[in-house]
Symmetry: C2
């Protein structure tokens, strides 16, 4: 399945501040009360906007959720692919680069990442399938260097499938526990997680 | 803070099948629509019961959530402590044992684990604090052997704090992706995750 990703998105700004501001407020509502616990009226009240203003930008509440979840996942894919491509062909360097990029995004966009991890069930069926395809693509970006490194003996890893899932989920979970006032910078945390991931796949050199 | 855990709970059965059945139905509702998206009426309808029957057992919806989340976390602590104690004093054996016990419970009680991971924000403040204390205790069960093994040079692990969080969250996330029809038994998955966790903390012997 071909999945559309917009590589220009990270650089582009949202010219309509109204729309971007409403997305931000809706995200806060979803984080606090869950998608099903939030009404369009809640979003309007918190944004000091009319319900009509919300419907001007978004046909439905589930459309807002779709934008939040798909946008952050597309941005993640762009960030991961850039990091991987910049790392060159070495499997260890590639794995370290994608772990770092993943952790960085999940420390900096915690709310969106949390919603992405908890509200998949709430999407419309077509969007649900789109999200699954995007997630498969994320998993593939981790799986490829892990499998290739294991196959070539660069990694001593008997379970590349489980290692892929373990590394992906430990990086994703950062969005749930990272505290920006906790002392560690996103960069330090990203470096340490890269070292832990390389240890997990049995890499003993320097990435 | 002292945290009450009932070690007898794993063995005990719920004598009131009505109450246990309602908890099961409520769990299914929460998994499908989230805590805030579920009403007491939804639970009653799905259980083919009257709303009065629900209120007979539970004073409120948030009380049902409390039972689901605290029960599964208390059971987890009991399972982890038993596994750790049975493993003896060796740090590698302890870590392998608690990883296996954690993965096993999260493959077998996926719905409760998922709710435990996503609805913490929905608990009443006192229950929220109780859950945080229980979770700290879970984290401690992982942290102790990791720190002790790192300190004694049994593990080559420069970041025991981050390794603890990484291992804990990769094990917890199993509840989200494990498919009971996917081929791997809970036991096989538990063994592989234990091997990956030991590799992550830089243990090269046999646990």
């Amino acid at each position: 399945m071909t999945v559309a990703v917009r590589p220009e998105r990270l650089a582009a700004d949202d010219s309509s501040t109204g729309r971007a501001a409403l997305l931000k407020v809706a995200l806060d509502c979803f984080v606090d009360k869950g998608f099903h616990g939030t009404s369009m009226r809640d979003i309007a009240q918190r944004a000091n906007a009319s319900i009509a203003a919300i419907y001007y930008y978004f046909p439905s509440k589930v459309d807002i959720l779709r934008h939040i979840m798909i946008d952050v996942t597309q941005d993640l894919i762009v960030a991961l692919e850039r990091a991987r491509d910049a790392a060159g062909p070495d499997a260890a360097k590639q794995l370290a680069a994608v772990v770092k990029a993943h952790v960085r995004l999940h420390t900096m966009r915690q709310g969106e990442s949390f919603i992405g991890n908890t509200e998949l069930r709430s999407l419309a069926p077509a969007d649900h399938d789109h999200m699954i395809a995007l997630r498969d693509r994320v998993a593939e970006i981790f799986r490829t260097p892990i499998q290739s490194g294991a196959k070539r003996g660069i990694f001593r890893c008997a379970f590349p499938h489980e290692a892929t899932l373990a590394i992906l989920t430990m990086c994703t979970a950062v969005a749930g526990w990272y505290r920006q006032d906790g002392g560690e910078t996103p960069e330090t945390l990203a470096d340490r997680f890269a070292a832990l991931a390389l240890a997990m796949v049995g890499f003993s050199g320097a990435a």
